[in-house]
């Protein structure tokens, strides 16, 4: 914070680099670096420093007792040879893809609908948003109870669920996690799409109506293209959210059956806080950082989001 104070004070002696004292319009321009300082410090303190510490820890063997011991590349060699690690990455990717595929269409439809002026819209929207207000842990406990094979929904609908062994098979457990994720996060993405859909100028629809375009045509030719950048934002959020999904896995499946839903974030927790191998846990964390960064970059590049074109196409 002292740096901030120093920076604002006019430099004594008027060295060549010091700016003239601020006055009136002359100070309007690009804000100086000092403005970014608070955010930079917080980012460094809570993101970069831990990241650096994790990078260092990934080359050590440490159980939380005593001092970390440097072991070179041992943790990384363990991870590369570990079948569960590879499986967890594939599972994470599967979760991301399934999450995006199930949540995106639903939230676009709900969001566009919620942006309209229908009767009851406000009331129904409020109900749809309830899952957004619940904690992941509460949601997981709730669905865990609802899906009990003997005393929950599957027990009552045995014609649909058979013996109800939903969490005891890989496909069933993945299905449950995707469904619960959809139930939990669709309201959030609906909210994003609702805001974006409200921002689409009504003149576009009026013009289209004059040209004779029906509801469907308007949706596909106006609404969807206008929501393009919103969709990219939403998908990036889904990807990052999918990579860090943790509570639902912990409570609903505990990574099981066996290791069939052990996604990378959960595997990191297991290694670090259940097996007390903070070295391997840190290495997994770094892998997650790299994977998340690469995926985000690819999405941004492929979608042209980096060019930041106006979303108001046709205007």
């Amino acid at each position: 914070m002292t740096t901030l104070a120093t920076r604002k004070r006019p430099a004594p002696g008027g060295s060549p680099q010091s700016r003239p004292a601020r006055s009136g319009a002359s100070s309007v321009g690009r804000p100086g670096f000092a403005w970014a300082l608070p955010a930079t410090i917080f980012f460094a303190l809570f993101a970069l420093v831990p990241l650096a510490a994790v990078a260092v820890l990934s080359f050590t063997s440490w159980s939380g007792l005593g001092d970390p011991k440097f072991v070179g590349l041992e943790n990384w060699e363990t991870l590369i040879a570990d079948p569960v690690m590879l499986k967890s990455l594939w599972l994470s990717l599967l979760f991301i893809v399934l999450g995006v595929v199930t949540q995106t269409p639903l939230s676009i439809l709900l969001g566009v609908w919620a942006a309209g002026n229908q009767r009851n819209r406000a009331v129904l929207s409020a109900i749809y948003f309830i899952p957004l207000l619940l904690s992941s842990a509460a949601i997981s406990v709730l669905w865990r109870a609802l899906l009990d094979p003997n005393f929950g929904i599957p027990g009552q609908l045995s014609w649909l669920f058979g013996d109800g062994n939903l969490l005891g098979t890989q496909s069933g457990a993945i299905g449950v996690l995707i469904f619960v994720g959809m139930w939990q996060f669709t309201p959030f993405h609906t909210l994003i799409y609702q805001g974006a859909a409200k921002g689409i100028p009504t003149v576009l629809y009026q013009a289209a109506a004059i040209d004779g375009a029906g509801m469907m045509r308007q949706f596909f030719s106006i609404t969807l293209p206008q929501l393009r950048n919103t969709a990219i934002t939403s998908i990036i959020l889904m990807v990052v959210g999918g990579l860090t999904t943790f509570e639902t896995v912990l409570i609903l499946t505990n990574g099981g059956p066996g290791t069939d839903t052990t996604i990378t974030a959960f595997y990191m927790y297991q290694e670090a806080f259940q097996s007390f191998d903070f070295g391997v846990g840190s290495a997994i964390a770094l892998v997650l950082v790299v994977v998340a960064t690469v995926i985000s970059l690819v999405v941004v590049k492929v979608s042209g989001y980096d060019k930041m074109n106006s979303s108001l196409e046709g205007l």
Binding site: L48, L167, Q274
Partner: protein, 433 residues
């Protein structure tokens, strides 16, 4: 120096300093006694219904002592994680709850615990007042590190006596063949023979603990624990696994046990609602049922020992489960004398009576005289006799091994039951420990 370089240098400097602090924070912060609070002893315990007795003991101690004990309850499921992350720092508790065996082995190895042998030398009761089979669990390398507290929790085969009666089973199975026979009868009666909370994984492990003990004797597991992993490949090991496979394949646990939990009431409700005949569970199952369905717990719930296995090496009276919980003392404690005084309360009549009143079964030699005060004296006496007579009391596998082995063991037992791995897969998993 221009502003820009000055700025980036100071930023870099700050970052490096912070990194330094973080790493120093990671490293063994375990200081000496002087860095600990004055006139305070911190007591960390597993947070659950038993805490009221612990609080009462702390209050009693604090009445007469200048050094006050502060009770820190840590929510149950996170206990071991929290403990391991603070035990080597200045915030470590002076006295803490644990399960003996593997749960403290790493701490002993890291030289963090105070051997209690000096305390015992001054007051022999600290050892002699407890049942030997229980006290031994916290003895490592011939040094005592734990004083039993709370109660013993042997695993027993619980049953729904009404369901057994309807299926034509007169008495709980005393032998393996009788169990297999009962499974067939229960299947014919249209109920799941044995309830199993497979999603919790540790209930599945209970079947392995008993099968290996009955078939191979207690020596096999002890040898494996001591580092001889070849024993997992032995003939007895394969025989035990084969018998378990036979039981699972016979449909003894139904088909959806991997979706059922004990902890959310799933498997106990199967038993109490008459949809299952048996459940292998720790002695706390009685309290669970008493809480959810008192009528059932008092009149219908039955219990017996794990069946004997003909031709097996293990004594049919051997038990498995949680032998007891223990208090251990941190080496850096500022007030070892006061800690010793507090530990002496663990064999006091008052402590034993309070434990029995809340349904726990302490393992002191004076426990027997208070068993009539238990809410179910018959059940308390049955358990106490089992523990007293048991030639060997096998600590649960996931607690006998250090905590880092837990995930591997739990995954292996549940994958074996669900058929994802076979005998060889299980043997390989256990040999990796």
């Amino acid at each position: 120096m221009n502003n820009r370089t000055w700025m980036s240098r100071s930023l870099a400097g700050t970052a490096v300093m912070m990194l330094g602090f973080t790493l120093a924070g990671c490293g063994g912060g375990g200081g000496d006694a002087s860095s600990r609070p004055e006139n305070e002893l911190h007591l960390a315990v597993y947070g659950d219904a038993s805490n009221k007795v612990e609080q009462a003991m702390v209050d009693k101690f604090n009445e007469t002592s200048d050094v006050k004990i502060v009770l820190d309850t840590i929510p149950g499921a996170d206990y071991q994680t929290k403990l391991q992350t603070i035990i080597d720092t200045d915030s470590a508790p002076d006295i803490f709850f644990n399960w003996g065996g593997g749960s403290i082995a790493n701490f002993v190895e890291a030289d963090l615990l105070l051997p209690l042998d000096d305390f015992i030398e001054e007051d022999a009761q600290l050892k002699d007042a407890f049942l030997p089979s229980v006290f031994e669990t916290a003895v490592i390398d011939d040094k005592s590190y734990g004083i039993p507290m709370r109660g013993t929790q042997p695993v027993m085969l619980f049953n729904n006596s009404e369901v057994l009666e309807q299926a034509g089973i007169d008495a709980p199975p005393a032998t393996w063949d009788e169990l297999l026979d009962a499974v067939e009868k229960l299947k014919a009666a249209g109920v799941t023979p044995i309830a199993l909370g497979g999603a919790d994984q540790w209930p599945t492990q209970m079947w392995f603990q008993y099968m290996f003990d009955r078939v191979a004797g207690e020596g096999l597991f002890q040898a494996a624990l001591d580092g001889d992993t070849d024993v997992w490949e032995s003939e007895e090991s394969r025989k035990a696994l084969g018998m378990l496979r036979e039981l699972v394949d016979a449909g003894a646990f139904g088909t959806n046990f991997d979706s059922v939990k004990f902890t959310d009431g799933g498997s106990p409700t199967l038993l109490s609602s008459g949809r299952a005949g048996f459940e292998l569970m720790g002695s706390w199952a009685y309290a669970t049922h008493l809480d959810a369905n008192p009528e059932f717990a008092e009149n219908v719930l039955g219990y017996s020992e794990f069946p004997a296995i003909e031709g097996g090496e293990g004594d049919p009276d051997n038990l498995a489960g949680n032998t007891n919980n223990f208090y251990s003392v941190h080496k850096d404690t500022r007030y070892p004398e006061e800690a010793a005084e507090f530990l002496k309360l663990m064999y006091s009549d008052e402590f034993v009576q309070e434990q029995i009143a809340i349904g726990n079964l302490p393992t002191t030699t004076n426990t027997e005289q208070f068993l009539d005060e238990a809410s179910n004296p018959e059940y308390a006496k049955y358990q106490f006799d089992l523990v007293k007579e048991a030639p060997h009391f096998q600590l649960s596998w996931d607690q006998a091994y250090p905590p880092e082995a837990t995930v591997t063991i739990h995954t292996a037992v549940s994958q074996f039951f669900s058929g994802q791995i076979d005998e060889d897969g299980f043997i390989k998993a256990m040999q990796s420990l």
